[in-house]
């Protein structure tokens, strides 16, 4: 990996910025390009990337819940097989009225991701035809992956809990204490006992 000239990555970034004025693109590191723009342009950027820039593969689609900013961040990850470059395209959508353009006409595999997002985050994709009930069946609460969904409360309300489990203690600490074991520093970070 001696070749650290980010020439091809830069070219892609430039190309993108030139084509779409509102788009900001930057090269993260070798083989990683990241772009962000407003949501209306997403389909056209994706089509452009697919048809003209050679990003034939949609590796991943994801969403991040920025509850503090009242945003969902949609993340599309594309991969160019010839140039071996990953392009990440991000956009923010409003959390209240979470709708996003349907892209399963561009990539068939987006269908599955969008079903999941619709179910787990409640993001609507106008014009998207996918079967309901993907992971959850008969779900009528708030979409469970939203950060304002209280899963503990829901579990307590819905499921029975066996007595003796109310404290929700992390038994690992107890066990390690009993053994006289030294808890590594990095592990303390994850411990519930603060």
């Amino acid at each position: 990996m001696t070749d650290i000239s980010l020439e091809k990555e830069q070219k892609i970034a430039d190309e993108l910025e030139r084509t779409f004025p509102n788009l900001t693109a930057r090269v993260r590191r070798a083989r990683r390009v990241m772009a962000s723009l407003e949501k209306e342009l997403i389909p056209s950027v994706l089509v452009h990337a697919k048809d003209n820039l050679g990003f034939h593969h949609l590796s991943h689609m994801s969403v991040v819940d920025w509850i503090e900013d009242e945003h969902f961040e949609m993340v599309y990850t594309l991969w160019n097989h010839e140039k071996r470059v990953q392009l990440t395209i991000k956009t923010m959508i409003s959390r209240d009225n979470a709708t996003m353009a349907n892209i399963d006409t561009i990539w068939r595999q987006a269908n599955t991701y969008q079903r999941e997002m619709r179910e787990m985050f409640g993001i609507e994709f106008p014009g998207f035809v996918g079967e309901k009930d993907f992971l959850l069946e008969d779900w009528d609460e708030m979409p469970p992956m939203r950060r304002d969904f209280d899963t503990m409360e829901y579990a307590n309300k819905t499921y029975f809990s066996r007595p003796g489990r109310e404290d929700a203690q992390d038994v690992r600490d107890t066990i390690s204490k009993r053994n006289g074991e030294e808890v590594p520093d990095f592990a303390k970070k994850y411990s519930r006992e603060k």
Binding site: E137, T151, A155, T158, Y159, S161, R162
Partner: protein, 181 residues
């Protein structure tokens, strides 16, 4: 008849022996626990020695092995499979997830207590229980069958309303065929 009781006893003994020594399991691999079944089956532990056998359909199976956490979606299938089994039938809960939810205790879509939804005859503790634990649980079940204690099916039949209420609480869109035998 005077010796009716005795003859019944003998019949019970024979059937108990037959039932306990020929456990056909519907291995319903619900969760990660199912990975412990292959070692139990194959040459290391070889559970066929005791007449245990895996059966693919609930019609032929005696034991329903719930091998791990149950999402609500899976629970529906488990209930259906259980109801399709022919009596006498037994349920083994497998791993701590079936007992109290295990590490998924606060998840929004896994149940915590299996015995509120279907009657469990034997719980096997552990996360995961090792094959030895599995076998010991099965031996326990065998003993229970011989004693006549493994009457989960009867319990289910008698308290069907309670079980149904619990089940329907989770499975909102209830479209199951009736279970009344």
């Amino acid at each position: 008849m005077p010796n009716d009781k005795n003859s019944q006893k003998i019949v019970d003994m024979i059937t108990g022996f037959a039932r306990s020594n020929s456990l056909f399991m519907l291995a319903y691999g619900t969760g990660c626990g199912d990975i412990e079944i292959p070692p139990a089956m194959t040459s290391r532990y070889d559970w066929e020695r005791f007449g245990y056998r895996k059966m693919a359909t609930p019609r032929q199976a005696d034991v329903l092995l719930i091998s791990g956490y149950l999402a609500t979606k899976t629970l529906k299938r488990v209930i259906r499979s259980y109801e399709q089994m022919q009596e006498p039938k037994y349920v083994i809960g497998f791993g701590s997830c079936t007992i109290n939810g295990g590490m998924y205790w606060d998840s929004y879509n896994t149940i915590n207590m299996l015995d509120h939804y279907i009657p469990v005859d034997v719980y096997i503790n552990g996360c995961m229980p090792r094959p030895e634990a599995v076998m010991s649980g099965l031996f326990e079940l065998q003993e229970m069958i011989k004693r006549g204690d493994a009457n989960g099916a009867q319990k289910y039949r008698e308290n069907l309303e309670w079980y149904r209420a619990n089940q329907k609480k989770i499975i909102k869109n209830w479209k199951m065929p009736d279970y009344n035998w």
